[in-house]
């Protein structure tokens, strides 16, 4: 997946979140977005996912400019898988129905095909036994894994994950991370916002460091973690990796 960002501006509630963010064209299969809280990671992910139209500038995904009007943005969202921190699944539907609803209503897939596909996907990630449970009957980790499956079953052009494990205890987080690693290894492009730096280092091939609404540093993951260029980045890595 190619990503390029030109002078991206975005304010929310009178506050500038992204302030002329720029990134030359970078190619990677797994992007990790790291940096201090409030640096704009989640906001950038939402812009890329077509959830937040920027105030200015542009994002190019696979050399294609992200549209601005709501209708085209909706088309973008239909081709993008997104998973947030928590409460992704629809409360009133079972895991299986959560997969079926977007497939049949949004993607327009025939019911039988959607059923077969949903079941196959749940089986692939060992969640078939839980297919007919509602979210409150699943553990937090299972909920997140079903949410990832729901994002994957539409065969998205990329999977955007916004701190998918930050609301989970370490064991459940490990299960979810394992699944993400498997998905990435099978070739689905992934863009991940995470605080698990060790995990980011292991699975990503490009890391972007965001602080104060700018991408202050980026590069191949191994080089990034071994030789951070800027002082801010070095301090951040020191602080977080020490824990």
């Amino acid at each position: 997946m190619d990503l390029e960002i030109r002078d991206l501006q975005l304010g929310l509630g009178g506050k500038d979140i992204l302030q002329g963010m720029t990134l030359p064209q970078v190619s990677a299969n797994v992007f990790a977005l790291i940096g201090p809280s409030g640096g704009g990671k989640s906001t950038l992910l939402r812009v890329i996912g077509g959830l937040l139209p920027p105030d200015g500038g542009e994002v190019l995904l696979n050399r294609e400019r992200l549209p601005e009007d709501e209708k085209s943005l909706r088309q973008c969202r239909r081709k993008t898988g997104m998973v947030f921190q928590n409460w992704n699944l629809f409360h009133h539907l079972t895991a299986f129905e959560n997969l079926m609803l977007p497939l049949t209503q949004v993607q327009g897939m025939p019911v039988e095909e959607a059923e077969a596909k949903s079941m196959a996907c749940l089986e692939r990630f060992q969640l078939a036994d839980h297919a007919h449970k509602k979210p409150h009957q699943l553990s937090g980790g299972q909920q997140q894994r079903v949410a990832i499956i729901r994002a994957l079953v539409i065969e998205p052009r990329c999977l955007l994950l916004d701190e998918p494990t930050s609301a989970l205890d370490p064991e459940m987080a490990a299960q979810v991370l394992e699944m993400i690693e498997e998905v990435a290894a099978q070739g689905t492009p992934v863009m991940l916002v995470t605080h698990h730096l060790a995990f980011a280092r292991r699975v990503s091939d490009t890391t972007l460091f965001l602080a104060e609404g700018q991408i202050t540093e980026h590069g191949p993951t191994s080089a990034f973690f071994e030789r951070p260029q800027t002082e801010a980045c070095r301090r951040f890595l020191d602080r977080v990796m020490r824990m």
């Binding site: 947030f84 629809f90 009133h92």
Partner: protein, 253 residues
Amino acid sequence: MRALGLKNPRWLPLHVLLGVVFLSGLCTLALGSVSYQWNFEAVWGYRTKFLAGWAVTILLAICSLVLSTCLGLLAALMRRSVWMPFRATAIVYTELIRSTPLLVQILLLYYGIFQAVGLQNRFVAGVVILSLFAGAYISEIIRAGIEGIPQTQLESARSLGFTPFQTYRFVILPQALRQILPPMTGQFISLIKDSSLLSIIGVQELTLNAREINSYTYSTLESYLPLALGYLLLTLPLSMLAHQLEKRIGYGS
């Protein structure tokens, strides 16, 4: 059952029985002191009039429930609209209705507006007035139900590429419905009770018929006790249903 202050629901029938015995004992004492002459025979002759009134009350309540739910949903959606005139209309409607007595609305609408536009049918007029009244309260119930849905659910729907209509149809309304059902049942109970006020514009419902029977027979309590019973028979089962629904609310978390 917590609403009734009971630790063990098995004792509910006993508590109800005790309450009834105690209250009827009090009533007997009070009535005994004025040496009331009971005369149920005269009223019994008008039993079909009671039943006819009861049937009209039920029909009034059901028609008004359907119409007021539609009005309430419309007002709730208008209140959430991005278009300001819609929001303003919805706000003025709910505030006007909720800030004036139903009796005043009945008089004003029936003798003012309905006479002017030539709406003569009292039953239809009654349904329209009750629906307008209940619709304002129902719109607030529905609005609370919709606004109670976590923002994350809406963001999920948006991220999956749902249109706003699909979000309402598949996510908001099904989830809001569970939250809405108990207060809606309560609103339906109010609707049944409030329909008695329509007797003042001559809708032939239970209260008006009981008053007429009283004026034919001069048997006040014999006319009005069955009147109260007629309403209790409708509202008590609904009230129990509301308690049941309240217990089942939520998603187990």
